[in-house]
Symmetry: C2
Subunit: 338 residues, 2 copies
DNA sequence: ATAAATAATGTTACCGATAACATTAAATTA
DNA sequence: TAATTTAATGTTATCGGTAACATTATTTAT
């Protein structure tokens, strides 16, 4: 591995001079600068980030931790984060926690060990609290995305989950639906809780009774075993005329299960969900969804993060909470009753 | 930031003893081990990767560079790579080059500077050669995914692009199609070249003439400006009865363009493509595709990479080229002619 | 012309960890 | 019990950079 000392030796200068050329600091004569540059080219020099960050105590690296890299909501969000990071001259790396608090903890360790300058996190859930507190303790600035964690003050970019759920339920009731089921993520995830709340409120406002049997709380990420969905469908009696899914993944899995049973959407049951299916929903715009501005989650979150990093130390800047609107896109997955 | 020296001081031992406890090396009495552990907990110690890798000359970090984080092919591949890396105890970070050779080069610099132990790369194209050579020069093991780079020997995991294209065209001709168009990625990408070759061969075998006007070579990644697709559609006269898309993104954009013109698939024109649309194609299995085993690309590639890393130095192990089969899934996006 | 300022470069110490070698204490063996 | 192992811990140098402080050459000011 070529080091500044190799360069220095070959160019007949000191290592410090080479360092100055690399970083454009201090005063260097044009002649030495040129000579050093030439030798660097010749030897294919690449600076060693680790050595550098070790002494500088900062890495110029940012991280984005998402919970499901196969979910278009998060990949679109990632593109937003990437663009914002690039605009400010930061490098961005990604990690995928797979909705697992343990994997997330591993990433947090990697991030700490790598001495990242900041982190954007879509936390796996409330149990993420301990390792987020670890980040805080080590003074690594972070911004939460899509999910809050109770007991932790921080900047956060959220979607209006409650309002979104209300809109979906209202849409269904306006078309005559009365037996509306909900399949949702784990209640340890703030957005899932809000979606449940919105669902319950909307039921109440529409004078519909809430029934535990019609609600399934499961996992937001793709799974191979659909048996919990199966038994939930069996349990509901009479069957629902409409289903609200807490995210796009769940909607897809509900459809798969229904199709396997020969039940058609929306003919026999209507379906709506949170989050679009990415560009691929363009092929056949079918699902009626709450379309969250995924790109904005990433872009705004990254901007907030970078502001935090750059204001470091200054007391000011209270925690900021950005709530992005929940817009419904009506498509063909809902039929009207009668 | 807490260091081993802080721990050492508080525990009344030397830094080296702390290091031994952390790494489980050397001999340590149970008593000191316990004491050191306790202090580490108390102070919330996190090892500094940078300092560590600096002296160890290895980071235990692996990278995966993909070209389009919003493409389900690559995100599924990423899941495979992640699982394989985890199985072998490596940490994995992701980078997204967005099909840009320049962004890719930036990532390569980050990777070099981070002293990653190895890299999985889906190269942006043939122009990636220089920075891949830089990786090679710095002895960072890498495995190419999905695309080869002429002039560079390396391990590589490919799909059978030529055969896939042939299958698609054969399928179309078997249903009576004679005017078959191709929209493809840049010819600077090996897989795109092979798909073109397969397309031409299949035309020839079916006694169909090749016509330049029926082929559009554009970019594989999502774009906002669809005008090149527009003008290509205008140019073809008579219009094709079927279109082969070089990947899923292009297929979606063709559909968008066609829909905007009021042209229906498959009623007025048939459409087939490479790569599935992820789990979301399950909602409405519509597109007839060559389904590549995305997960296996990542999983096998990662295994090959780790073998390389662990055999480091040993002369053996010739470059390996794995070609995964191209399986066609027939769905509803093709109609038969007459 | 000589002091004072400035430009250009070099030296030393350190960032946080570990390898290699050194030392001391405890346990075996002769 | 003295000699030898072995266990447990400590010291020093180093990884590849950079900050802070020298030092030397060159200008500029007086």
């Amino acid at each position: 591995m070529v080091t500044i000392y190799d360069i220095a030796a070959k160019a007949g200068v000191s290592a410090m001079t080479v360092s100055r050329v690399i970083n454009n600091t201090g005063k260097i004569s044009d002649k030495t600068r040129a000579k050093v540059r030439r030798v660097m080219e010749e030897l294919n020099y690449v600076p060693n980030h680790m050595a550098r960050s070790l002494v500088l105590q900062q890495s110029n690296l940012l991280f984005l931790l998402i919970t499901d890299i196969t979910n278009p909501f998060y990949t679109t969000l990632a593109r937003g984060a990437e663009d914002a990071a690039k605009k400010h001259g930061y490098r961005l790396l990604f990690g995928n926690s797979d909705e697992s608090v343990d994997k997330e903890k591993d990433y947090v360790d990697t991030i700490l060990a790598t001495r990242a300058d900041g982190v954007l996190v879509a936390p796996a859930g409330d149990p993420s609290l301990p390792h987020l507190e670890t980040l805080r303790k080590h003074q690594v600035p972070f911004v939460l995305l899509d999910r809050e964690v109770p007991g932790l003050d921080s900047d956060v970019v959220l979607g209006d989950s409650k309002e979104g759920a209300r809109k979906l339920v209202d849409h269904l009731t306006s078309l005559g639906h009365k037996r509306i089921a909900l399949i949702n993520g784990s209640p340890s995830i703030s957005s899932a809780r809000l979606r449940l709340e919105g669902y319950r409120e909307a039921l109440k406002l529409n004078d519909l009774a809430y029934d535990d049997d019609y609600v399934l709380e499961t996992a937001f990420e793709p799974r191979s075993d659909l048996s919990d969905i199966e038994s939930w469908l069996d349990r509901m009696d009479p069957p629902p005329t409409a289903i609200v899914a807490g995210n796009n993944v769940l909607a897809v899995e509900v459809i798969r299960t229904l199709h396997a049973r020969g039940i058609r959407v929306p003919d026999q049951v209507s379906l709506v969900c949170f989050d679009d299916l990415g560009p691929y929903s363009e092929i056949d715009p079918f699902l009626t969804v709450i379309s969250q501005q995924a790109y904005q989650f990433g872009y705004l979150g990254m901007q907030m993060l970078i502001e935090r990093i750059q204001e470091r130390g200054e007391a000011g800047l209270p925690w900021r909470k950005v709530v992005l609107p929940a817009d419904m896109i009506v498509r063909r997955s809902v039929s009207s009753i009668r």
